[in-house]
Symmetry: D3
Subunit: 131 residues, 6 copies
């Protein structure tokens, strides 16, 4: 038995991708990532929720804001890293995991987190981690 | 190996949520829940389906109708319960489980049911149960 | 030649509808309205936009907040009025027109406003007005 | 920990379904299937991806093209088979598994594949297989 | 000033298209058409609606049912006609116009009807007519 | 009476926007634009279409390719221009108008073109021109 709660937000960034397989995406370009953050729990917290939607949205916004409207190629955090959609899912998920561990997300014992980044109407990636 | 079949319907209800964390949602307000019911099976039934779409839709409609266009705060079924999106997922899923057990959903041996309620374009919840 | 800019937000309300045609929707129930506000202009303002997206979003939020998480049956503003989806589109559009007229929406000369409220995945209404 | 990458395409086919449960769908009719192919991996390949989006899209296109714009009732591949949405998910997934095994999908060790076919705004099916 | 109300339904059909430009779509194939029917009025009817959603949905269903789950190539109604998405929009719109004229759609004086058929996630057509 | 046909594609670009109103979007960032190109005609061409979907898709692709996966700040075409979503709609629409005028879009006499760019799930812009 698993409950989950998902909130959606987005970020708009520039970046380039290293590797011949990326073809034209090796050039500096950009993306809107529509970001879905999913929180899972085997049972609900005192209020009957996995995570309060308002709180989840704020935590997600706090993670996306520092990288929003930026060129990821210039961000020290991503030095030497290919900021593929998959990897950005992983980075955001790790930060949500940290928020879950420091208690920012409420009293329900979370069992997993999934982050999905939709880069267009025809391609998206996810990262899923158990807690 | 898992096959799944999902049908979508919706319900429109009023309710209020108890708990300071809900902020303005403590007031009487309402929601449209777009409801996705997913049925899982390791193998297909005689007709080559997990559940017939028409049958699945009818069973879901039969579960949503009694609570549709109602104020959940006044429904005996929900007395003393915070009708959060997560909890409503659980309630609907339990009724689908009962339908699966009494044979209303056909001959494929179902292995799981997932119910997702989308409350807006930026928030949704799910409940998943193995059978 | 017409440019337009649309921003999306939502509100969650309770209400009931008077009139036999509404069937079960005569009971107190509720809805999530996903609200799209469209601004039209024949030419762009100095920054190259119809309306700044941030400003448009704030103005729309300012209009939706006072009615969000409320029972519209109890709101003096809607006394004696059937708060159908169509009528709510009209009410929100009028407030956007007022914002356009008092200069809250920037320097592009707006020629029209459209408000769309999506009440489910299978029904929505709009109100369109020329300025 | 699981990464995933999904690409979307579609196919338009005619077919009929055998079995009384299908009601009017026993007649020759048709469907647009919007096809989502998901690839899963526990770790990313050298380029930082599960599968290159371009490559994944080409492989999926190569699988959908031979059955697109066809009457499945006349295709030898489906002789004696009810081409339900579930079964078509399985058929497409098997071909993606073959592509994964022959190395067409790159260097990340794939752990699973999911294929989802959306046949309308209110019904879809999936097939998920571990590798 | 224009109010509008839209309801969504769908139909699944087989057909073929005559003309070299259609390439593989000259073969017998099929489509799911997600159908949006929009009704326009300059003012609302007595109940505060353009058209009652339930009534609009029933009228649309009544128009789609006779052609649903059929091979349009065999339907006398479409003999000698290329059943392109555009043309099907026109055919459905004409039937909605007839329903508007015979009073099936209520007391608001309708000023226009729009029918949109979405044939995939990347292509759709519309037909719009003033009344 | 107006028929229309829409095809969808997308482009991913980097750019920055000049003007204090843009706040953080003054920095180099990027966007995925999901692009909808709509063609309008009062009557259908010989094949029963406004524009052949395949042809419309190719023409749109031919317009989006040269700017896809690029930093618009470095493109001579956009020197001194704020590449807002609205303005990019206008630029793409003008190129579609040119294609319509040189006969690339078939034999139906087009009466209008609309281009919509969706930059996120909560904001989009359009440009509409009569022919």
């Amino acid at each position: 038995m698993t409950y989950s709660l998902t909130v959606r937000d987005h970020m708009m960034i520039a970046h380039s991708l290293a590797g011949e397989a990326f073809g034209p995406a090796q050039r500096l370009h950009g993306a809107t990532y529509v970001v879905d953050a999913t929180f899972r729990a085997a049972e609900l917290g005192d209020d009957g929720v996995v995570v309060d939607i308002g709180r989840a949205s704020e935590v997600l916004r706090g993670i996306l804001s520092p990288v929003s409207y930026r060129n990821l190629d210039d961000e020290p955090e991503f030095a030497g890293v290919n900021t593929t959609t998959e990897r950005l899912c992983g980075v955001i998920a790790e930060k949500l995991v940290a928020a879950a561990r420091d208690g920012s997300l409420g009293d329900a014992p979370l069992t997993g987190i999934v982050v999905t980044l939709r880069e267009s109407h025809i391609a998206w990636a996810s990262f899923e981690v158990e807690l």
